[in-house]
């Protein structure tokens, strides 16, 4: 009997052995496929264009960790809609373009990245979710502080900063203007003392300070030199840095401007980007540091940062950096909410990308795309631990202004925000 049992057991063992062999050597992973590299997917249908855009966003958008948009739900909602554009033969090309524009707008409407701009080259359509949100806010005044004060604006709106020049500053003020910029518009910088005070005022319209200082108009160079020289003037009682209406620019200006106010490295926050193609693959947070400028010492007098709802990107980082200094007060309005640094996608495998490769011209080799998504490459977290992307950085003193409040009869102005800044500083 025992022999029979042993034989049976042996057979059972051999069967198990065979089963294990089969399991081990025939087991295999799921086939691991992935999307093409950005812009490489040749697309000939709306379904393909949609998938290319959705996948590129899924992979390279840096705010998924904090953005409330349910991107999977977006896929489920819009995939059938784009598929219908391919199938519905009753639609005209105009109605297809109109529908696809509205679908793309619907997909990105809730994104918190306030740099985000979706350009649909094929249909000549653009979407800025942050701009759309701002315009829905009745308190927000668009273009209140025009960024090119010395040239006429095509929309006929006001050149407010020019009034500051004539009505708030004393006669020793310096004005630097460079009209050679064709892409970003004219550059101006304004530095001087508030009338009858020792308060130093500095304003400029775009963060091109380093570029302008090194290769811009001589009037700009002289204005910047004047401003930096005054920082060591013992008579200065306080400083106002006005970045209202300033849409940002080069991050190298942080060390150039804020670096001239500090004597030791200033930790202002953290940045992180993507570390893989997964939606939540992130690098750790890297310290965001402003480095002092050689030859400058710490500015110890009180500072007021003036910023508003149109202060974006570097204008916000500058305001935040100033607020990281103990003697700074922020006056104005909550900023735009676009804090994430931008660079080319390849640097971090994140950020701006083309999508919907619709063909390459044989003669020129130029590849044409259905569209482009302009978006941050990194996420910024302020030193207080908050991510202000999509929310904006709030002021210490929230002073709202409107056109009627500012522009008074007889070509005069009253600027409640600047007035508040002046009141906060010793004269």
């Amino acid at each position: 009997m025992q022999n029979i049992i042993k034989k049976a057991f042996s057979k059972l063992t051999i069967a198990s052995f065979t089963l294990f062999i089969s399991l081990v050597f025939t087991s295999c992973h799921k086939e691991i496929s992935t999307t093409n590299q950005l812009g490489n997917a040749y697309t000939i249908s709306y379904t393909q264009i949609f998938e290319d855009f959705w996948n590129s966003m899924n992979k390279t958008y840096v705010f998924w960790g904090v953005d409330p948009t349910n991107w999977d739900e977006i896929h489920n909602t819009y995939a059938p809609k784009f598929a219908a554009l391919d199938k519905d033969s009753t639609l005209t090309s105009d109605s297809i373009n109109s529908l696809s524009n509205s679908y793309f707008k619907g997909m990105v409407d809730g994104l918190i990245d306030s740099h985000y701009f979706l350009s649909l080259y094929y249909t000549l359509y653009g979407v800025s979710p942050a701009q759309d949100r701002k315009l829905k806010n009745p308190v927000f005044v668009e273009n209140l502080f025009q960024t090119a004060p010395y040239t006429p604006s095509v929309d006929g709106k006001f050149y407010y900063t020019a009034y500051i020049d004539s009505l708030y500053l004393d006669s020793n003020k310096m004005v630097g203007i460079d009209t050679s910029q064709t892409v970003t518009g004219n550059f101006y910088a304004l530095a001087g003392f508030i009338q009858n005070t020792h308060i130093l005022y500095f304003s400029f319209n775009v963060f091109q300070l380093v570029t302008q200082y090194n290769s811009g108009d001589s009037s700009v160079h002289a204005t910047l030199d004047y401003f930096f020289k005054q920082l060591s003037n013992p008579a200065v009682s306080g400083l106002i840095i006005d970045v209202r209406g300033n849409g940002g620019g080069s991050t190298q200006d942080l060390n150039f401007l804020i670096g001239s106010l500090i004597s030791s490295p200033l930790h202002v926050g953290y940045t992180r980007s993507k570390s893989g193609s997964g939606r939540l693959d992130y690098t750790p947070w890297a310290d965001a540091i402003v480095t002092p400028r050689p030859g400058f010492s710490a500015f110890t007098k009180p500072i007021v940062a003036l910023a508003d709802g149109e202060s974006a990107s570097m204008a916000e980082l500058t305001t935040m950096s100033l607020r990281a200094l103990s003697k700074t007060t922020f006056v104005g309005d909550t900023t735009w909410g676009a804090n994430g640094p931008l660079t080319q996608n390849v640097d971090y495998n994140a950020g701006t990308f083309n999508f919907g490769n619709i063909g390459t011209a044989i003669e020129t080799g130029t590849t044409y795309y259905y569209g482009n998504a302009y978006t941050s490459s990194c996420m910024f977290k302020y030193i207080d631990g908050n991510v202000y992307e999509g929310k904006g950085f709030p002021p210490n003193y929230d002073v709202k202004v409107s056109l009627n409040q500012i522009f008074l009869p007889n070509n005069t102005v009253d600027d409640p925000q600047l007035d508040k800044a002046i009141r906060l500083l010793p004269k």
Partner: protein
Amino acid sequence: MIIKRKLLLFTAILVLTSLSYLANAQFYVGAEVGGNENYLITNVSNLISTEYVPINGFNIGVPVEYKVNDWFSLKSTPNFIQKNYQLQRTGFYQGVYQESKNGYLQIPVSAQFSFGGRALKGYLNLGGYGAYWASSHIKGAFANPLNYPAYGTSNTAYYSVTVFDYETPYYYDEKYQFNSTKDNRFEFGVYAGLGISYQVTKNYKVFTEFKYYDALTDQQKNYELEQVPRYNETGSISIGFLYQLKTKYNKFKNHRFKNHTLQVNN
């Protein structure tokens, strides 16, 4: 009725077999250490100048062997095993990397088939394992987008070769913070091992074994559409020893043998 009778017979055979084998079984316990190389099986071809490469780790375990007969054992080696890998960029972005050192508490269970002589034996293990991703440490570098050299100085070399000739690197070496939405900390897979053992004394044997662990579960939870899975695939070489414990069954067997001998002598 017939089914009941068959069931009864089957149960009786099973119990008798178990008792028979238990009475003859030997129980070993020991220790082992080893080194390994882990591959993260995934696809990053959609990322520019980016690749995963394997890096070495170690494993330490407590093998437990239940020897049923000369050629068949059941074996388990609860162990701590590192499953490390590195994500790195190439070309101009050389120097950007993230090394991940992942510690798993792992329990493999296998059937061991032995062959060879009385002292020197070869064996094959086939089985499966379950593991818990207990810890992770990351170390690496990437270009810091907001940490430029002081104005007037520059990172830029005359002839810039890599990204760090332009940008300030951010170096990190820190504990990885698990993400409960993304990280799947339970892993299951299959396991195969090929080894040799040598019976040094009656109670001790030493062994060396090559083991191959192949995860069948994704390292990530299913948290996004179009997800690209990631699987660990680990090869290790271990050395160790096993000590034969005197179980009550062995004692019982010895006792019976003694009694039987005495009876013969009588």
